[in-house]
């Protein structure tokens, strides 16, 4: 008897966990899931989430169970005698006021603790990144490391990144579910967020605040890599960055490893692309290493320096392939209706080929 009750009790302890497993079972298949945290911020949130799910499931099973039982048990017929006319029960009513209050307290205490852990900027040895929302793409500036990029954030694994976030137009919300919760961005204000990636890999992020026509296509990637890979990436991205030396390519920079990724001498196709980039109006909106706008920090469109190294184009929407780039350049509005990317004129296929070659060469 003793053991079987004990076994039962042990089994009962697992019921919420089993339900949770069913709920979370397929989470592995979702690249943007909140249920498999891979960063410290997301783990804090996830712990709280699991506490609330635990209590919610218990309450759900008990209350719905009693409701269903009552419906099955107390069925009557039209000619049945009048049931006992109870008007209430002070004891019961006090009990079911107090018990939920205790359950809520069990959620409230860790909640407030976590709020105070997650509200402010991180301190200490951190990678500082400015996040700027635009309709409909993300700009990332590594102010201390001298890098400006778009829609693909690189972070070193195991090191806290500190995000200082704002927007240059409407409200957006920065969200990489596997690393951290979301935080909205407001014009003229800065909001904090931080996280420390625990594993390497590429992770999906999205804008989570409705921001106009193409809110759905304002995605981005976070690439978590080893410190060495990250340093190499920074070094490559620094070349011609508007934050370094006014965009002019520095001969030597002691803070980062030597630049080993400078492209080979451009071929004629790429040179034609550069000429077109300068003459056709692209420089009206885009910073670009080697072009007239190399040193301009604030432009309407994403900084295209090293665009060839990014995994995706059009704010995380299309894989960065020559075909997709050509498709985008032939008619941006058909790929992403309402996009603020306006071609100054219709480009010929030959012109697009030169631009694709030019942009792809900027690794």
């Amino acid at each position: 008897m003793e053991t079987s009750t004990g076994t039962l009790r042990r089994l009962a302890r697992h019921v919420p966990a089993v339900c949770l497993l069913l709920l979370l079972g397929c989470a592995e298949n979702y690249p943007q899931t909140t249920l498999h945290p891979r960063g410290d911020f997301a783990h804090l949130v996830d712990g709280l989430f699991r506490t609330t799910v635990f209590w919610a499931l218990i309450v759900f099973v008990l209350v719905e169970g009693v409701l269903v039982y009552a419906i099955l048990k107390f069925r009557g017929r039209p000619d049945d005698p009048e049931p006992r006319q109870t008007h209430g029960s002070t004891l019961l009513e006090v009990a079911w006021t107090i018990v939920p209050a205790f359950i809520l307290a069990a959620i409230a205490v860790p909640t407030v603790k976590t709020i105070f852990k997650t509200s402010d900027y991180a301190t200490g040895d951190v990678v500082q990144i400015e996040v700027i929302g635009h309709q409909w793409w993300w700009e990332f500036r590594y102010t201390e490391l001298g890098v400006v990029t778009a829609n693909e954030m690189h972070v070193p694994v195991g090191k806290t990144v500190n995000l200082r976030m704002t927007t240059y137009d409407v409200l957006h919300s920065f969200w990489v579910p596997q690393f951290a919760g979301k935080r909205d961005v407001f014009p003229g204000r800065h909001n904090p967020l931080w996280f420390k990636a625990e594993v390497t890999g590429t992770f999906s992020g999205a804008c989570a605040e409705f921001c106009g026509e193409q809110h759905a296509r304002m995605m981005f990637r976070v690439v978590s890599q080893t410190q060495e890979e990250f340093d190499a990436w920074i070094a490559a991205q620094r070349v011609g960055s508007p934050l370094v030396n006014g965009g002019r390519i520095a001969a030597a920079d002691s803070t980062v490893p030597a630049d080993t990724t400078r492209p080979a001498a451009p071929d004629s196709l790429q040179q034609a692309g550069l000429a077109l980039f300068n003459s056709a109006g692209c420089i009206g909106c885009h910073s670009m290493v080697g072009a007239a706008t190399a040193g301009v920090v604030r432009m309407t469109g994403p900084n295209l320096s090293h665009v060839g190294s990014r995994g995706t184009i059009v704010a995380g929407f299309l894989p960065n392939t020559p075909e997709n780039l050509a498709k985008w350049l032939s008619n941006p509005d058909s790929v992403k209706s309402g996009t603020l990317m306006k071609l100054p004129r219709k480009l010929t296929d030959a012109e697009i080929a030169t631009l694709v070659a030019y942009l792809r060469s900027h690794q």
């Binding site: 609330t52 919610a56 409701l67 049945d80 939920p100 909640t111 997650t118 579910p177 909205d184 407001f186």
Partner: protein, 612 residues
Amino acid sequence: MATSVLDHAPATHAKAPTGIWSWITTVDHKRIGILYGATAFLFFLIGGLEALFMRIQLMKPDNHFVSAEMFNALFTMHGTTMIFLGVMPLSAMFFNYFIPLQIGARDVAFPRLNAFSYWVFLLGGLFINFSWLINAAPNTGWFGYANLTENQYSPGINTDFWVLGLQILGVASIAAAINFFVTIVNLRAPGMKMLRMPMFTWMSFITQILLLLAFPVITIALVFLMMDRHFGTHFFLPEGGGDPVLWQHLFWIFGHPEVYILILPAFGIVSEVLPVFSRKPLFGYTAMVFSGAFIAFLGFGVWSHHMFSTGMGPFADSFFALSTMLIAVPTGVKIFNWIGTLWGGSLQMKTPLYFAVGMVAMFIVGGLSGVMHSSPPADLQQTDTYFVVAHFHYVLFGGSIFGLTAGAYYWFPKMFGRMLDETIGKVHFWLMFIGFNVTFFPMHFLGLNGMPRRVYTYPAELNFEFWNRIQTWGSLLLGFSMLVFIYNIWKAARKPADAPADPWRGATLEWLIPSPPQEFNFGTVPPVGSSTPAWDLRRANGGPLPEPKPESGAGIHMPRPSYWPAVTAIGVLGVIGSILFTHAFHQWYFITITGAAILIYGIYRWAFEPAF
């Protein structure tokens, strides 16, 4: 005191008039209730169609069933329609029809103001929906977050339709709220103390207070936004010293009480249906009253839980987290008391009970997911995802719509003298129940697995397709269940009007008079000694009461029909709607002046028209 004013006036109609003119000029709360119900049900169907179009678009990744702009307009109009043109006026149908009946009054306190509310509501609803016809439907969300709604980012008149349309609808809501508040305070039958009022009337009363306190806030916010858009101010523009966060605070100080405006009437209906079909009184009547009042009071102190991701700082986050958790306590009391009402009863398994129990069961789910995102850090993963979409559909569809449908089945015989079919009703329930859960339950999974809200499409590699497909099939089933409901009404309309006065063994005053009631409601108002006066009479009689006979109504004077409320409503539309033309039409203010002239003339004629 209760029946005084209306008794002394000098005219009556032997027979209820018919024809369209009689509907335009009616000031009878019952007819206005039916007008509200019919209009709101049509808007509700339109809102449902908008939802179905969205579901078809989201059925597969990178779908092109509708464009991005169309999708954004669909979700904006779906939310706006369901809240302001569907659920609120469906509740208003029951307020209109049943508050006077439940408190033993001949009409509402201000019958012509009541007609005015309806006409303003109708014109406001038509105004917003007119935008579809000129391809300018609002597309910035029902929440209209600044600064996206400012001229710079939304230059079209789409957002103006939304701003001005809500302003017009606000006029209707505030006028109606004043009317019902005064009616409940002043026109109760002798003996009906506040704590003897039926629970539907109680929850309606609390709803009117919420309306009166919450709507002025959205009115101000909308005026600010209108000024920004049309007259060069910058309340929400940071470049001019304004702040878009101000909009969020104003919107949600309105928006959260609005949630209770949508759910409390359904709470009231369920609190009527459960006792009647359990054949025992509501468990813990007083606790139900005060928990409702407490929910309403706390409802004004939780608005920022819609804004946990805005970075308000740890103290504000903690305050709003705790106040939000606190609101779960009175809500829990309601649910437990409903179960307590069923417990030990003699359950009559009729369609209204199915929907009422369905409402309780579904609201529990919505309430629990609500507690889950009352925790701000957890909410950072949940807000603006499909998890939240699941949550509020469980409280607004699973709660409000199930509750209102329970009310429709419960009160249909009283309103139209015809019973709805029980078998079709139960088929309706099961289709709606299954369709609802298949549509909305998987949204919990999708949200937690990273699907943001308000996206017109999603890439295949995020693996959202499977559940989206299932949800779309569920939504089609849900839509089909509405057809079953319409068929049930159509079938009932073809039957003779032979429903008894009291088909359910009801507890409240409306069941003591014929179905449908005569224009003057009560020949004589019966004495009220408890919250279940009809049961008291039945018990005193030792069995069922005799079928009430139609009364002559001689000597009872009812207010005269009037078309001035409708004329005045047109003036309101002209004054507010004319702002739409400031950008397009230089002489726009002539429309404003014309509207103002109609408005003032309407009020003048209304004021000097004899009421009886």
